[in-house]
Symmetry: C2
Subunit: 307 residues, 2 copies
């Protein structure tokens, strides 16, 4: 089962963190960008090729440190169709390296369209007599504002293809509370959504006790994180907000159960942009990224133990 | 201003409807699909080429009937990178034909990532010294579950580039009420989100009196639609749910103000799949689509007048 595979990779690597692969033009070491611009001009294609070279270098040094990567779709869409080609190549390269790949797209729509998104990122499409895999990720983040019939098509694909989704429950941004913290009936909105995620996933519990419907819960609201961990004991958490956004290891420790299971903590900029802090020219970006990923692992491990 | 342009096109065409360009493999007339499969095999590329030929044929017969088209991103992502290439070509072709293009992507994320989405679909990205336009649509649908700081980056791009967004307020699907109809404080959730949209847009009112922050309000809940129209008098509505989903002309009439302004009604399948009801082989798909679009226009016009 998909989440079992992720939890198992976390145990093997002794590392409950995921590296966000969220490239921006300004994060790319100058020598890489220059090379591709010389080849293809100042084009989306050149930037997309530079993104892929950057990602490949990162995956080459991170695959035995982190269990998973989380490419952010917005960063690839920003380069138009060539960017989506780079997204696809990145997913393939990361999976070939044994990494679990979470596409961060926060997709959402009504039934038949949600089904198209789930097939695009997690499933397949039939053309003539041939089944084709558009992106083939392991998991996808999903926004549940449309209610259960916007989420169920994703769960169907998860069950058919052994994949997972992470539903946005409590996000890490400053204004997340405007809607998510409102009292709706007897619960705050984020609990309504969290309960929905756990309920919709209930028949998919795997070996480690988690369903295929995970939840995104930000590190920047640690007391909400702790409360949700207690409330949703079958829901695996994807936790953004550590590092650049302000969440600390102490803040995320309550994402885990007493065995150190049930969550993965994301960091993007601290890893991708580590080379910008070494005072060198970016040719050391892979070393800097690996070191940052190891530092993060040790930081998180200092407050918890994985059994 | 972007919404003025849309409203103005609606007046010129005497038609407050938008054609959803939501192709699926099974919607493509057999002769088109066959031709491209013969050329490129049973591949994503072949299907993407077939989608583009299909869309081009539709745009060629719809451009003087409808003011706008709304390509659904899920349908293009379903074909992977070649699908996104077709999305881009469709947007360009539709805009060249004078149509207003609403990308239906329901995108959402925290600040800097929301900015990347807004640049991808509505703005531009800088590579070296060159500004490049990834997709260049006129408008984008946005999900506001993350609160105002997930929406503001889109509005900034709207103001800089003269574009618009449509925030999901009350969606047309059966389970939309699970979250959207909950009482949160003194209002139901969809009113909280609607009020947020109107408030965030308040400094962007154009000639027709609407802001650059529109709202998606489904036709399938006509009393909510009527109430929201009265409540949000500066917010332009994009109304899905007419036709295949069950909304009637009578249901959508209250989306408009007394001048027949302030809303555009979407129909997808009734137009795209019109050829499947003629009993012919699909070679008549453009005629059938045009006829369906005219029928829809007349149906809506029968209950309202555009001044």
């Amino acid at each position: 089962m998909s989440i079992d595979r992720l939890q198992s990779l976390i145990r093997t690597r002794r590392n409950p963190t995921v590296a966000g692969l969220d490239p921006r033009v300004e994060y790319i070491p100058p020598h890489i960008l220059k090379k591709h611009i010389e080849e293809k001009g100042e084009t989306l294609e050149a930037a997309a090729d530079a993104f892929f070279e950057f990602n490949r270098g990162l995956i080459d040094v991170l695959w035995d440190v982190v269990p998973a990567v989380k490419p952010q779709l917005a960063c690839y869409e920003l380069l138009g169709p060539p960017g989506m080609e780079t997204f696809k190549k990145t997913v393939d390269y990361a999976r070939a390296a044994g990494l679990y790949v979470i596409a961060d797209g926060k997709r959402n729509d009504i039934g038949s369209t949600a089904e198209a998104y789930s097939q695009a990122f997690l499933g397949s499409v039939r053309v003539g007599g041939t089944e084709l895999t558009p992106f083939g990720c392991d998991a996808l983040t999903v926004n549940a504002y449309l209610g259960s019939d916007g989420v169920k098509p994703f769960i169907r694909t998860c069950q058919e293809r052994d994949k997972a989704i992470f539903v946005l429950v409590k996000t890490s941004n400053p204004s997340s509370g405007e809607l998510q913290d409102m009292i709706a009936g007897d619960r705050v909105v984020y609990k309504v959504v969290g309960d929905l995620a756990e309920r919709l996933g209930k028949d998919t519990v795997g070996e480690y006790g988690y369903t295929c419907v995970g939840a995104v819960v930000g590190a920047t609201y640690p007391s909400d994180l702790r409360e949700l961990r207690r409330r949703l004991d079958k829901t695996f958490f994807l936790v953004p907000g550590y590092g650049a956004q302000g969440g600390s290891a102490e803040d995320v420790r309550h994402a885990f159960n007493r065995f150190g299971h049930g969550a993965v903590i994301n960091s993007s900029r601290a890893i991708l942009c580590a080379w910008q802090k070494t005072g060198k020219n970016g040719k050391d970006y892979t070393d800097a990224a690996r070191e940052a990923a190891v530092t993060m692992k040790n930081d998180i491990k200092s407050v918890m133990t994985i059994v």
